[in-house]
């Protein structure tokens, strides 16, 4: 029902979304045992678990409907340059302020993506998205609650939140890097398109920042950090993949 060019664009879209969720999921899991308070330890760990579930759902569509390798192979056996995740997600967790703000910027975009995808003309994606969007709503609720509280906390918390936004914003704009065949997906009602998602995202992020009493960085003056969707990554991705695949490389048949 879709032609080859459309299917290839669909593969690119699903792979980029899946890789983003796998990598941010892994990063979020690095807070397990290290959260600044117990509740945040649990929150980041729970969100990580959801993200890996979302990645699995997307990889499963690629495998079952579009003839790609099985999810474990896609997640654990590709080279760094085959990953099309944006660079935002691969950065180390840093301090809690950096991770919290990245979590907000990522999840607001993810919610817009999946809410739109729940009406996608590509049925397997629509079905998955109807499930996933309800979960991401909790992620956005979590992130925005804390950002607002810290933005309105004391001088230090406010300054750290602001600096985390300034640090993250150019990276976050890289989430909306256009990919080959994207226009075909938009034309056929499969996907909203990066430009439209970016516009909706900017609106939501500004509103949250305003409520938090923080300044929206001037995005027109920022150079979005692109490259991830084409397989260009920072020095941080390979070590993450090495760690993520360590057990799999030692024993591909390991069960737990």
């Amino acid at each position: 029902m879709f032609n080859t060019d459309t299917l290839n664009a669909l593969r690119r879209l699903l792979l980029a979304m899946a890789d983003d969720h796998l990598i941010i999921g892994h990063r979020n899991s690095e807070w397990t045992g290290l959260g600044p308070i117990l509740e945040e330890d649990i929150a980041f760990s729970s969100i990580a678990q959801d993200k890996i579930g979302h990645a699995l759902g997307l990889y499963s569509i690629l495998n079952e409907q579009l003839g790609e390798a099985d999810p474990d192979t896609l997640a654990f056996m590709r080279n760094e340059t085959d990953f099309t995740s944006c660079q935002l997600v691969e950065f180390p967790i840093g301090e809690y302020d950096f991770s919290l703000v990245r979590h907000l910027l990522f999840d607001v975009a993810a919610l817009i993506r999946f809410e739109d995808a729940s009406h996608s003309a590509y049925d397997p994606l629509a079905k998955l998205a109807r499930k996933v969007k309800g979960e991401i709503k909790y992620h956005v609720f979590h992130a925005s609650t804390f950002v607002k509280q810290l933005g309105q906390g004391n001088e230090e918390s406010k300054a750290r939140m602001q600096s985390a936004f300034n640090q993250n914003m150019a990276l976050a704009l890289g989430m909306f890097e256009s990919f080959e065949g994207e226009a075909l997906l938009v034309q056929q009602g499969i996907y909203k398109g990066e430009a439209a998602i970016r516009t909706a995202w900017l609106g939501e992020i500004s509103a949250i920042l305003q409520e938090a009493g923080l300044q929206m960085p001037d995005v027109d003056k920022l150079e979005p950090v692109y490259g991830g969707r084409k397989g260009f990554h920072t020095e941080f991705l390979q070590p993450l993949l090495d760690e993520m695949t360590e057990v799999f490389r030692i024993d591909p048949a390991a069960e737990w």
């Binding site: 509740e39 649990i42 929150a43 729970s46 699995l56 079905k127 309800g134 909790y138 979590h142």
Partner: protein
């Protein structure tokens, strides 16, 4: 010889003996994750399930337990498949299931129209004393489906099976 009506009921009854591993008194049927049971004239059974959360770690275990419960009735061909054709929401939990969740010490998820409002979480009724003088401590808990709350009246921390 297959009797479609009585056998289908027997299969549902068998599946209802499988419990949610995270709330081991709540059956997968009352949880609302069993979306379809089909049996052919030849006696092949197909059960369809939908996950509560897409990252639910217990789904493979529940698939196997459902399979084994149906196979124990004597059916030789049993297929259990999990997919997203029917979207699970907490509204799918039965009335009996809500009662069981409450007796287990968790606040049951409030029913909602269209989509859950996060404000629903702020004054969840305490499962111990029914007071609504409560606060949300965090939307994430010991399992993916739970949030954590505190009751100002009976001074107890409690968990909710959250609306989703």
């Amino acid at each position: 010889m297959v009797n479609l009506t009585t056998d289908t009921q027997a299969i549902w009854d068998a599946i209802a003996t499988v419990m949610d591993p995270e709330i081991p008194v709540l059956s997968v049927v009352d949880l609302g994750i069993i979306t379809d049971v089909q049996i052919t004239e030849e006696g092949a059974v197909q059960v369809r399930m939908t996950p509560t959360f897409s990252g639910c770690p217990a789904i493979k275990l529940m698939e196997k337990q459902v399979h084994d419960a149906v196979a124990a009735l004597g059916f030789e061909q049993v297929q259990v498949e999990t997919n997203f054709d029917v979207t699970w929401s907490s509204n799918r939990i039965s009335e009996k299931g809500r009662e069981i969740i409450k007796n287990f010490g968790l606040a049951p998820p409030p029913k909602y129209n269209d989509q859950p409002d996060m404000k629903l979480l702020e004054h969840t009724a305490c499962p111990y004393c029914n007071s609504s003088n409560t606060t949300l401590k965090t939307p994430f808990g010991p399992t993916l489906c739970r949030s954590m709350h505190y009751c100002y009246d009976c001074l107890q921390a409690f968990e909710q099976f959250k609306p989703i």
